[in-house]
Symmetry: C2
Subunit: 382 residues, 2 copies
């Protein structure tokens, strides 16, 4: 079992360590999203090591569809496959099944759907998700859940959450069984449960209580940043974290902007992931402590300064805004890569600054300062 | 003036050094093609340093059209722009003007054509090309020439070559003038002349003699690998190198496969450039000492070995054929990048092996060994 040790607190914000079989994670942490076992934007695992990434996140659905989890198992699991020595978290596939694939049918055992790659009919439920994630051999496996729309009606959400609870028991039982097998890639694979309930406080809280009963090594809050307002999101986090075990890490799935992260840390969140830094980077949108810049803008045409003065990322160490803008305009892949590297560095180092502020008991003033200097950005789970 | 020092010879093959204001080049050398001031495939200048690149080549036409040579001059020249400390060679734009752009009119002073980016009407001739290359501030500027088709008739080629000779005088005079100006980026910029003449021996030889009279710091053989056979190409090289100055480096433009390079070194060539390694890499075709592999092939699906056993390139050091194949199939940019890095490493290190063989007086046996182990590949200037 992984050990979660709280080192410092400031209000509800927690500075902690999470020890896993693949290394100790310093939290709060941002997990870098490598959907298909690679960060989009030609970022290699060597790059990940150089930009301060602690945890890499890969997508179960994508890897199941291509190249296949059996293949990855035969090559030693996803960490060996992509040559990443640190911890890996895999999502359950649920989010992608419900958003990307064309769904045929939901039943108690899972979902029948068509692959977005080749249209092939696939069945995935809690048992299948655990088997796939076990084949991938990630450090942390996520429970298979349904993520209802933030606009779904109460009745739908209630039924969906009840099924997600039943699915969690199936997940736990199946992963326990798999972890005992001789040829399992990572026999110490951890399961995190996921809280759902859209924006209904009572459903969220009731669900948080129910999943806490399983005493899992960690819990996530899912179904946020899918269309609700930031205020609704912060409210749900505040409500739910009260009812999740205090001695376990909490992961806010798919969130978010730097400001979202600061707000969520304040409300007790430890783990984050989001496609923003890589997706924005591929579009030439780069983060600075004074807000985002769009490097396509004409104003950067002859700008010999780095993306952010004082930044030591692989892009800012050598290249000017003018050069990167030229690469983006000329559709040179290097332009995207440099922006993605900068953005991931920015996110990973923001988390480092947050941890340092918590270590030094000055998170509140750090948050205030950052919030004032950065302009607000759009939300979304991605 | 740059100094070319022959260190060893074996038959007509030469192992030499070429000292420039931006560093000493060990020859024979392969120049890595960064068309728009970046190697395609998300390869950074930092990567170039790590894969053994000595000289980076950029394209005058592309940089003139976008982002503009005046802009690059204002940012300190192309070396400063792309953060590359070593020598840079710029082509003259002639090849692209005659192949990429839609030509409106050729006259004595140059060519009117439409930009391939925005259709804008542009005039470029020897004087314009020198001004642009001076703005780019490359180490070596290439003369503005016309590269007639290998299938062009004798009459056309004769007239074209005579004009290319006249253009060379204009280039020399203009670059001499520019190198005296106070605000010139690189006042020690070198001019290489270019031999043309399609596959007509007498025109080629006569042209080689004429351009040799200018006593330039280096000479190139252009207009090869544009459709003629390998035997015709080797024959032209043999004929022409006899009549170019022996105390100057010779550059075979746009060539070629590893076997082409071995044959050309044997015939006295010092400088090479070719888009093959980067273009092939982007298509998943990778070089090994036993020939090329297509990593899209199913046979590599579960292959845990590196592209080439024993290779120390950034791709082979960490990643398997199976992983890279997955990335290529999933259209992850990282797949292209790893293949391009491997291929450029392969080319740069092939040149290192050639130099070592010449140093040790065993080029003939090295060439025989490599030729036997590698299978023949297609030609083309690209």
């Amino acid at each position: 079992m992984a050990r979660y040790t709280v080192l410092k607190t400031e209000g509800r914000a927690r500075r902690a360590e999470f020890e896993t079989v693949h290394g100790t994670i310093q939290t709060p942490v941002f997990m870098n999203v490598g959907t298909a076992a690679a960060i989009k934007g030609a970022v290699s695992t060597e790059d990940l090591e150089n930009i301060g990434c602690q945890v890499q996140l890969s997508n179960t659905y994508h890897l199941h569809v291509r190249p296949g989890d059996e293949l990855i198992k035969s090559l030693g699991g996803v960490r060996s496959f992509m040559s990443w020595k640190g911890p890996v978290l895999t999502d359950s596939g649920g989010f992608q099944v419900f958003s990307l694939a064309s769904i045929r049918k939901i039943k108690e055992e899972g979902v029948t759907f068509n692959s977005h790659v080749d249209g092939r009919r696939i069945f995935m439920g809690p048992v299948e998700s655990m088997r796939i994630q076990s084949n991938l051999g990630s450090t942390i496996a996520m429970a298979f859940d349904e993520c209802p729309s933030s606009r779904a009606g109460r009745e739908y959400v209630e039924a969906s959450v009840a099924r997600t609870t039943r699915w969690l028991y199936r997940c736990r039982d199946e992963l326990s069984r798999l972890n005992l097998l001789e040829d399992t890639v990572n026999r110490e694979q951890l399961l995190f449960g996921i809280n759902q309930g859209a924006i209904f406080d009572d459903i969220r809280i009731d669900h948080a209580k129910r999943i806490s009963e399983l005493d899992l090594p960690g819990y996530a809050i899912g179904g946020l940043a899918v269309g609700e307002t930031h205020e609704e999101m912060y409210h749900v986090i505040e409500q739910v974290t009260e009812y999740l075990p205090k001695d376990r890490p909490t992961y806010l799935m798919g969130v978010g902007t730097p400001l979202n992260i600061l707000e969520a840390v304040e409300r007790g969140i430890d783990f984050f992931d989001c496609v923003y830094p890589s997706r924005n980077g591929r579009h030439g949108h780069v983060y600075t402590k004074k807000g985002k810049l769009n490097l396509f803008n004409k104003q950067f045409e002859a700008d010999s300064s780095p993306i952010e003065e004082g930044c030591s990322c692989p892009a800012c160490r050598r290249y000017s805004r003018a050069y990167i803008r030229h690469l983006l305009k000329a559709k040179e892949m290097l332009g995207m890569r440099l922006c993605v590297l900068h953005n991931l560095w920015f996110y990973n180092h923001l988390m480092g600054d947050i941890r340092k502020a918590l270590d030094e008991n000055c998170f509140a003033s750090f948050k205030k300062e950052m919030t004032e200097s950065m302009s607000e950005e759009a939300g979304g789970r991605g």
